[in-house]
């Protein structure tokens, strides 16, 4: 049985480590914050200029001056700091953020990622995505394995790239792949419950290896 959105987020949370500074994208990646293990110190970074943000405010306590990069109202923690946008991206581009978890439209077996534009469709902009994939130490993509019956894991992306050779891990509803960005390609390391290797093969356009230690 394929993982749900929440189960994918829960799986992504296993990539967190104590002391990590983490940037979470919009959508399923945001759900990862619900699965930070108790006792683990993880500071969430928001591109607009906040490190260490807390949960949504209680009703009536929303502050227009306190939002995350998704423009949602959030709260402050004792660990919070604020800074300007250039400092925010110095963190991201300077390699000071440990982990970025983000969504994608396509990922290629060489670690290319496309998640910001579809030619011919309305383009809204890349926001901070290109900076994140280019600068953060470890980049984990969480996405549905297929869209409209088509594999999102490809030999080569056919949408304009957000970053070239930047993805370290892909978590889909069917399983988990690692990416060797030095040319080693994709390796399937985990299957979602009741998903078979055949299911993955049928639904994956990219070529991939299977880890000896494949787990389910």
């Amino acid at each position: 049985m394929a993982w749900t959105r929440d189960q994918m987020a829960e799986r992504a949370a296993k990539e967190l480590k104590d002391g990590f500074y983490v940037n979470l994208g919009i959508g399923i990646p945001t759900l990862v914050s619900n699965y930070i293990p108790n006792g683990m110190s993880v500071q969430l970074q928001s591109e607009n200029g906040m490190l260490g943000f807390g949960p949504f405010p209680f009703e009536g306590e929303e502050d227009p001056d306190l939002i995350n990069a998704g423009k949602q109202t959030v709260t402050e923690l004792p660990t919070t700091s604020y800074f300007n946008s250039a400092d925010s991206f110095a963190m991201i581009r300077g390699g000071h953020i440990d982990l970025a978890i983000l969504g994608a439209m396509q990922v290629a077996e060489n670690g290319d990622i496309a998640n910001w534009m579809i030619p011919g469709k309305l383009v809204k902009g890349m926001g901070g995505a290109m900076d994140l994939v280019g600068g953060v130490k470890k980049v984990v993509v969480v996405m549905e394995h297929s869209a409209k019956g088509e594999s999102k894991l490809l030999a080569k992306c056919n949408l304009p790239l957000t970053g070239a050779g930047v993805v370290d891990m892909v978590i889909t509803d069917l399983g988990v792949f690692t990416v060797d960005k030095t040319g080693g390609g994709l390796t399937l390391i985990e299957l979602a419950p009741e998903v078979t290797l055949d299911d993955i093969k049928k639904n994956t356009q990219a070529s991939f290896k299977v880890a000896n230690t494949l787990t389910q």
Binding site: E47, F58, I67, Y82, N84, F89, R93, G125, A129, L161
Partner: protein
């Protein structure tokens, strides 16, 4: 030298002309110089190039300059929240230059610091790097991006003294401090206007040298784009509301 003007119109007097480049602080609708934007609308200058992370929403923030078709080109990282913007963009009435958000912030920082260009890893191997100088340093490829200086920067601060020293509040800081450095002229609107010495010098984020003119906006409108809240449970009851501690 008096930097403080009675209103936005007088603070912008003599600074506005058709075809100019204006930087506007803010992220979404958070920390935007709304009062100054309205004064630019009222002045009617056209063919503006506006550098701002976003383009406001319909009728708010930079959206008001789009409604009046005063903007020729936006330099932004994300513009998804504005229907007017999208209509004008599709009708080719409006030009957009997308910059990765960090590249945009750094271009502004560099412009303000007198740095004409810099190299970054962001965008290498993507269409953002097309036509730009790409060089290798220490085994990695980097793309050259240019610093930006604007004819005018407009920023919003929480508190400012009459010398132009500014401090910001929470995430309303965002692009404002870097943009304050990168305008040939910078005009700041401040929610609280105080005398010099009333802001602890250790807490000043933007030193007054970057700010030429300012206005006091004690009743600045603030907007929330995505109002997200959680329900209070019994365990979250405020102190003194009864129950065991």
């Amino acid at each position: 030298m008096n930097k403080v003007h009675a209103d936005a119109k007088s603070a912008l007097a003599g600074l506005l002309k058709d075809g100019m480049t204006i930087m506007a602080g803010g992220f979404g609708l958070c920390g935007i110089p709304e009062t100054l934007i309205h004064a630019i609308r009222d002045a009617g200058v056209k063919n503006l190039t506006v550098v701002s992370n976003n383009a406001g929403v319909d009728g708010k923030g930079l959206g008001v300059l789009l409604d009046t078709k005063q903007v020729k080109k936006m330099i932004s990282s994300y513009v998804g929240e504005n229907k007017t913007f999208m209509q004008q963009y599709l009708a080719k009435e409006l030009e957009i230059e997308f910059n990765p958000q960090g590249t945009l912030a750094e271009r502004i920082r560099a412009g303000g610091a007198g740095i004409p260009a810099f190299f970054t890893k962001t965008g290498v191997g993507t269409m953002i790097a097309e036509g730009k100088d790409v060089r290798e340093f220490d085994g990695n490829r980097y793309v050259m991006e240019r610093g930006i200086v604007a004819d005018l920067s407009i920023v919003h601060a929480y508190i400012g003294d009459t010398e132009g020293n500014l401090a910001y509040r929470k995430t309303a800081r965002n692009f404002n401090p870097v943009m304050a450095t990168a305008g040939k002229v910078t005009v700041a609107e401040v929610e609280h206007l105080v005398r010099p010495g009333e802001i602890d010098p250790d807490h000043i984020i933007t030193p007054g040298v970057f700010v030429q003119r300012m206005i006091h906006v004690p009743n600045a409108a603030k907007y929330i784009e995505q109002r997200t809240v959680r329900k209070r449970t019994a365990a979250d009851a405020p102190a003194g509301a009864g129950g065991d501690v």
